[in-house]
Amino acid sequence: MSGRRLPAQTGESLDRGQPLEFRFDGHSYQGFAGDTVASALTAAGVNVVSRSFKYHRPRGLLCCAGHCPNCLVQIGDEPSVRSCKRALEAGMDVQPQNAWPSLDNDLLSLTEAASRFMPVGFYYKTFHRPRLLWPAFEHVLRNAAGLGVIDENTPEGDYDKQYLHADVVVVGGGPAGVSAAVAAVDEGARVLLIDENPELGGHLRYSRPDAVAHARIVDGQQRLLQSGGTILNDTAVVGWYEDHWLSAVRGNRLFKIRAGAVVVASGAFETPSVFAGNDHPGIMLGTAVQRLLHLYGVVPGHRAVVVTANDTGWAVAADLLAAGVNVAAVADERPQLPVGTDIEALQAAGVTLLPGSTIAAARGKSGVEEVTLVAVDGSSGSHVVRCDFVALSTTWVPSAELAYMAGARSCYDDELAEMRLDNLPDGLFLAGRVAGPCSAEQEWLQGARAGAAAAGNTDDLPIAASQDVQATARSSALVAAPDVGGDKRFVCLCEDVTDVDIETAIAEGFDRIELLKRYSTVGMGPCQGRMCGLNGIRLCAQGTGKSVQDTGRTTGRPPVTPVALGVLAGQKMEPVQLSAVHDWHVDQGARMMVAGLWMRPEHYGDAAAEVRAMRQTVGLIDVSPLGKLQLTGPGVAAMLERLYVNNWQDLRRGRVRYGIMCNDEGVVLDDGVCARLSDEQWYVSTTSTGASGALEWMEWWRQSGWGDGVHITDLTETHAAFNLAGPQSRALLQTQTDRDLSNDRFPYMRARRADVAGVPCLLLRIGFTGELGYEIHCPAGYGRYLWQRLIDAGADFGLRPFGVEAQRVLRLEKAHFIVGQDTDALTDPISADAAWAVHLDKDCDFLGRRALTRIATDGPRQRLVGFRTGRRADSLLEGLQIVQSDDRGKPQIIGWVSSCRFSPTLQETIGLCWLPAALAERSEATFHIHVDGRLEPARVHHGPFYDAEGARLRG
């Protein structure tokens, strides 16, 4: 055999009739449909796939299972792709990462020559002095140690998410998982089986073909689908959260899954052992070799050495022999060679078999060329064997991340030299190799048992007895191979951490596993400790003299496998609420803005003209986002008395009053108007942005003792509201209603029901803007119609619609504050110039009473007050600070500007600001606002800037 591609065989995933061309590192290669990028590269004879993170050492395929960092490549604009999992596509442009100028000739590999200057934790120790040079060092380091390149011109991906529900979720589609899913579906459960591979079968896909086991998988898949079960292939479960809430990823989709119970049947994976030069390309895990052989018909080389500590390694050796590979030697750590057909075949072929031996060193230029095999106990001499690849099958780790996240404890089994799990939380079941070594038959039986139990069958199933079958050891107990000198011995391949680094870190005092991880960075790379976790713990235990169990393990957190940020970000969705008139605003060219949860017109092109039109004739603004609550019941007035600082018992039918709601600290939470429509029916408005918060606050008190017979109905979304305001508003509105709007019949601060243009409305005669005006509330379904009728009728009156910006100016001209803009989380109504609303004398223990009583007694320290400038001062902005020189001439901050606008009505810049009470009380006092190092003068102004007597409101 000369090439690396074997003849076609059953079970392979290739379509040999469909060759695919692709490029890697500037060269053209060919693979087949069904190949992964890595299998195609291996078949093409490419051994070096990447360069390592720190020392830029050449690295090749190691795990072939999507765990290790060695096969990470850049494909087009996508960085850090695991080439062993990515299906090959025609025309792929694959680039190595972390190598410059090329993979074969990486100049940065010179860093290894300087490795003694880069001890463990070097970035905590070096490059920091002189400080001045750190930015330069940082630039160099960031470029030297990287994982692919982000192309900022890449178009945004198309990501989404899907919610799934199941009684039983089975994670892992191997024999245990399929068996569990079938058992659960037989119990009548809704079952979701999730597997990371394109097809079910788990390790059966690549380990020894077994006709019985394969038939079970095929049969199980059919039964599952026939019984309504769901199978998700190519899907990785990446997180477990409380109450069995799972996250899983397939391609660009994030699944959020609520499971009644979870069966973890995620199997186990191999990890490499620690010996000199253990990172040479060509050194790979036994399961990686089997995947290449059986799934892709590829041999990684022509002369193999197999190192094992269990029977699976012998299967790998026998499979290689059968594939025509020259197996140079098999070393088994166990003192006695096991008995079996695999060994007989190898013995018959004259393969050197070394019991009680293991690998101590590997050497080679760009790939492994020879290895040193030594006796584990040092009793005999070493063997140097030439080879071009090594299969390691020494250590197994249960793929138990989800179980750990769910709260399972790890406990180290010294006899098995493996982590086992105990203390499983309710509703979480293990089956198959994740629970420990087991035979194919045991996997199937354990799965059935776990699946039935997860589906709620608590009967003591007869198959439970099979658990008692003695499991055979499968992992190496060696912490590291005997030291024969030579090359570095890597523990963590992601971050290039060696056993010496671990020893040094422990000697420096980082002797707890969590500290050791953070200091040495062991386990902090792309594999997140999958390859190095157990070795790191064992080395830590050895270095500290503790047991592996007492050393513990680092906390496992989601995600189990890397997840693209786009998957987490999901679709670009920012839901907003739209008023009934939204389309009209857009058609009129309104500039829309997000205000709280709503889209609102900021203006229709010229906010200043909108202000003038409203003051001179009439304007119309859509205020549908206002919180609108209907309160009914005999106890409404009593409840409002307790929730608001104002009086309510004395409010007569048909009247409206402005109210302020505080908490018990006396802080303003919300404001609005309350109308008493009848003795037991009230209509309450809240601020637009605070609507939901105000409702929740009121509901809390209502539902916990203060709601005597009160019902609150939220009309915020079901009702539209418009404010028709301006000197011509009455005349205009009168054309649309039979209700007498004259000042005598419908005076200021009154509420009336009326049909307007045939639409049943509630009219509130109030005046946030300072002119005669009517707030018109109607069912949202009539909103668009009514708005259009008002606009049409307004043509004769000079009506102009206005937006949020004009409203801000109009209310500022009246010096009305806006909760959340002019007030903050410490503002009380007395300081905010609304002491007139606070009735400390009312016969009710209202919210804020104690705090406001105290503030009223002591007097506020800061006050909200108006200011005017006498000029147009566009440099004055909201948020600017107000300063004053202290005794030594140093400027001190004494206040800030909370609202500021140029008033088209007054032709000067005005605003609201917070000042020390003593200064605020002095009308016309001058103070200074700090603008970019300059001081802009302004004068204190008391009361409204416009129509101070409110004659226009009441007229």
Partner: protein, 97 residues
């Protein structure tokens, strides 16, 4: 994600709810309560490491405020119930949150 049993709607994801903090009865009448008690009510949360009775609001559901008895170490919820003037809450000397 944790789930809670709404007294009206049954078991739902916590993303449907808003947490309202530990149950913190308002001392009344507010103007006659000792300073220390008032400060405790306003600012000092017990923040227990153990079982706590707390408020939740079914924001994306029926709008009920209800009480939850939850072990903050394990997140195990022993029970959830609607506030009652003469029920469990009253037994703790409270007639308001």
């Amino acid at each position: 994600m944790l789930r809670l049993e709404c007294p009206n709607c049954g078991v739902r994801n916590t993303s449907e709810f808003r947490y309202g903090g530990e149950q913190n009865p308002r001392p009344t009448p507010s103007t006659e309560v000792a300073d220390a008690d008032w400060i405790r009510y306003l600012y000092e949360r017990r923040n227990v490491m153990g079982v706590q009775i707390e408020w939740w609001y079914h924001r994306a559901g029926c709008g009920i405020w209800f009480l939850v008895e939850r072990d903050r170490r394990s997140n195990i919820v022993a029970r959830t119930w609607r506030w009652q003037p003469d029920g469990a809450a009253a037994a703790e000397g409270s007639h308001s949150p």
